[in-house]
């Protein structure tokens, strides 16, 4: 198995290099790590994380965990946190809330108390929001749950920080871009009308709030309604037909890879691939979507998942930066399968990098002896940092605790000099190589659409 994965990755990497398919590298300096003021050699600092590793969100959390593991291995070789070794404490909740609760109570009681919790489920954050405030344990969350971060009325304790933009803000940013790009860049006529088509559940419904609908309307984008499907659905043609009947010409999805690929496939089935633009939150711009979507091709010969638009709040694998090079190197060295080459692995790697920076800065400020969750939170509340040399950009303040620098990206496939898609062979199968291209080159601040947020339309 090893040899197969390895050869696949190598072929892929070679293909990418030879093609130079990626856009021009973003100008980035080297890795900007704060200098250590204190030498912590001989000590161990643990990174605490638990989440759904074996439940319904496992497709996205297992690559994330792979990212943690590889990053910790790599950074420990490079000196850890100011010489201190990074250890990982990780547990599986299987997506069960009781298990989250019990693991949290376990973690809370660790001696020393965790400096930070790394979580990756909206539901976990929502459950623990008040408890972590009581116990003074900050959380770094790789999900975009508005309620998790800000509570029901946006006034609740601020101990949770999100590594990706809130889903509501992502949707707002998409509306803003869509209204500008609709007739120009996208060359469409009429008005954009969005229909939500997402997974059932809190995650899938997180983008459809009164605030986002009003904001989009103010941007000239109408939200015509929402339809939902279960992760086990085989067919969403009925849902698509319903939304089309309501006038939707854009579908926005909040789902993971299999859900997005299913929608793309059914759009092609219904022959609507040219009429309807498919878009979604950051998870839809993932290699896994690009790989799954290849089974169905559009009449133009490209996979159904070609030209999905979405939020790209970080630098993608195809962009040439120092950070990406580093991640790619480690990815290859650890023989990760092609299917893991997505946002989750990147996020996992970036989270460890962020953790190191966070602890380093806190140690520099208060000294190792006084290191505590409360101090880490203070560092977080004034945290300007570009993780992995710019792959993730954080600009946290006391009131803005979610990453909010976004770009719009497009999922497509690598093409050769002749303009034709390139076919590579990996693991014994022929594949097109999914790439994500930023449509807007510059990062912009996403609108603030949490209840009572700055950009909420009154």
């Amino acid at each position: 198995m090893r040899i197969r994965f390895l050869s696949g990755i190598l072929v892929l990497a070679l293909a990418l290099m030879a093609l130079n398919a990626a856009p021009a590298a973003l100008a980035q300096g080297g890795m900007m790590r704060t200098e250590c003021k204190e030498d912590l050699t001989g000590k161990t600092i643990t990174l605490h994380t638990f989440g759904d590793l074996s439940g319904p969100f496992a497709p996205i959390t297992q690559p994330l965990a792979a990212g943690f593991a590889d990053a910790i291995k790599y950074y420990n070789e490079k000196g850890g946190i100011c010489g201190a070794k990074i250890a990982l404490q990780q547990d599986d909740t299987a997506g069960r809330q009781e298990q989250t609760q019990s693991l949290y109570q376990r973690y809370r009681a660790f001696d020393p108390k965790p400096l930070m919790l790394l979580l990756y489920s909206s539901a976990d954050a929502e459950l623990l929001r008040e408890q972590v405030a009581e116990d003074q344990i900050p959380v770094f969350l790789f999900a975009g749950s508005t309620i998790g971060l800000y509570g029901e009325k946006a006034d609740k304790p601020g101990w949770i920080f999100a590594g990706i933009p809130l889903y509501t803000d992502q949707f707002g940013a998409f509306c803003r871009w869509l209204s500008k790009a609709w007739t120009t860049e996208l060359g469409r006529s009429g008005k954009p009308k969005i229909g939500h088509l997402s997974w059932e559940g809190a995650f899938g419904r997180s983008t459809e709030t009164p605030e986002t609908t009003a904001y989009c309307a103010a941007q000239g984008v109408e939200v015509v309604g929402g339809e939902y499907f279960l992760p086990t659905a085989t067919d969403v043609t009925a849902q698509i037909n319903n939304l089309v009947k309501k006038g939707a010409n854009v579908l926005f999805t909040t789902s993971l890879a299999s859900g997005t690929a299913l929608i793309a496939r059914d759009l092609v089935t219904l022959g609507l691939e040219d009429e309807i633009l498919l878009s979604g939150v950051n998870w839809v711009l993932d290699s896994s979507v690009g790989l799954l979507g290849q089974a169905t091709l559009k009449p133009d010969g490209l996979p159904s998942t070609d030209n999905i638009y979405g939020i790209l709040p970080y630098v993608w694998w195809d962009e040439q930066t120092e950070g990406i090079k580093l991640v790619q190197e480690q990815f290859t060295a650890n023989q990760r399968p092609l299917t893991a080459r997505g946002i989750a692995y990147l996020a996992g790697f970036g989270a460890v990098d962020t953790y190191i920076e966070l602890i380093t800065r806190t140690v520099n400020r208060v000294g190792f002896a006084k290191l505590s969750g409360a101090e880490v939170k203070k560092t977080f509340e004034n945290f300007q940092y570009e993780a992995l040399g710019g792959v993730f950009k954080y600009n946290f303040t006391e009131t803005v605790r979610a990453q909010n620098q976004v770009r719009i990206g497009r999922l497509t496939y690598a093409r050769g000099a002749d303009g034709k898609p390139v076919v590579v062979e990996a693991g014994g199968r022929k594949l097109l190589v999914p790439v994500v291209v930023p449509v807007t080159k510059e990062f912009e601040t996403a609108p603030d659409l949490k209840p009572g947020g700055a950009d909420v339309v009154k």
């Binding site: 040899i3 319904p56 059932e200 499907f229 067919d235 009925a238 089935t269 091709l297 014994g428 022929k430």
Partner: protein, 363 residues
């Protein structure tokens, strides 16, 4: 043209999609019904057996490498099945049987090791692999509970599901996979799904039939016909029916109840793999698969928990109810509420299901 206020073509589209999806539901239901028939146990592990079966198929279908160890193990499974499960014509001599087994073994080994026809290899490999899984489950977890309270056995199937989940995570991880089985190879050399069948101008619009779902439906129907014939005419099928009716009596007349039980599990496991593979080919092979089996429970009940034809009708009815419900009331009602409302209505009107047997009580 409208039907009750909805565009006619959308209704027809919903109907078609419902029937085709229902075919896969029916196949899943069939697996659950067969185990229930043989042992009276409702199998909660079926969803996990599906996941495992589809992953086995994926392994054979997508990868060219296969260690001889796996091939050997699977042909060993065949050997076991042949030498214990099936009785050969009595006229065969001992050497004839040995030759037969050896030939079967060699053929399977050859198929499993060759890589030119991945589909055939995957078919044979999955059938054997899934059967082996079923046999192992039965032997290691179900058989020790023979004679114990039924509850314990039902519980055991739940636990087996948990272990199977762990095994799939350990071996395959959790990434979503694509499994394009019903596909041609396009100009780029990529597998490509057959284009959908479009029927234009049906009640004011175009109705689309997904080819892979249609093929899956065809296979499901074929499987059903096969099983109905199997239970009606083959010796093994008849003995399974007899055992289901009254295990003690079956034992008394010389049927091998344990062998029948093992066969039921092997068959159900193969059916689970088949259903899961067909399902995956129409969407993706995802770890959410076990959830699909839960959605099929209403179909099983609707048809009657011991009825094979009931499983088929139940699957189709639930599939159609879901899709038409979505067309008329939106997906949150159609897919999440309607199947269970239908279930409640059936239970109130006809408690034993559409095809279940009503039993007369005696004192």
């Amino acid at each position: 043209m409208e039907i009750f206020g909805q565009p006619g073509f959308a209704v027809v589209q919903g109907l078609v999609a419902g029937v085709l999806t229902g075919g896969i539901y029916a196949l899943i239901a069939l697996g659950i019904v067969i185990i229930n028939k043989a042992s009276g146990v409702f199998n909660f592990a079926h969803g996990y057996m599906m996941l495992l079966g589809a992953l086995i198929f994926w392994t054979f279908f997508q990868n060219q490498e296969l260690t001889p160890v796996v091939a050997f193990a699977l042909s060993g499974a065949l050997l076991t099945i042949l030498s214990t499960g099936i009785r050969y014509p009595a006229a065969w001599t001992r050497s004839g049987r040995v030759a037969f087994i050896a030939a079967a073994w060699a053929t399977v080994g050859f198929i499993l090791l060759q890589t030119d026809n991945l589909f055939l290899r995957a078919l044979v490999g999955t059938a054997l692999g899934a059967a082996l899984v079923g046999l192992l489950i039965e032997r290691l977890t179900i058989r020790p509970l023979i004679g114990q309270p039924l509850f314990a056995t039902v519980m055991m199937t739940l636990v087996v599901g948990e272990v199977l989940l762990g095994v799939t995570q350990l071996t395959w991880g959790s990434v979503d996979r694509s499994l394009p089985i019903f596909a041609t190879v396009n100009a780029l050399g990529l597998p490509q799904a057959y284009p959908p069948i479009r029927i234009r101008d049906v009640l004011g619009g175009t109705v689309v039939i997904k080819t892979e779902l249609l093929i899956a439906f065809g296979i499901a129907v074929a499987a059903f016909v096969g099983f109905v014939l199997f239970f009606r005419y083959t010796r093994l099928g008849l003995s399974m029916r007899a055992t289901a009716e009254n295990a003690d009596l079956a034992q008394a007349v010389g049927l091998r109840v344990r062998a029948v039980l093992a066969t039921a599990w092997a068959i159900a496991s193969v059916l689970a793999a088949l259903a899961a593979t067909l399902y995956s080919s129409s969407t993706a092979l995802s770890i959410t698969m076990p959830g699909l089996a839960l959605r099929v429970f209403p179909a099983v009940l609707l048809g009657g928990i011991e009825s094979i034809s009931g499983a088929f009708v139940g699957g189709i009815v639930i599939g159609v109810a879901e899709k038409l419900g979505t067309v008329y009331f939106g997906s949150d009602v159609g897919e999440q509420l309607i199947p269970f409302v239908v279930l409640m209505i059936v239970l109130i009107v006809r408690p034993s299901g559409l095809f279940g047997e009503e039993r007369i009580e005696r004192v």
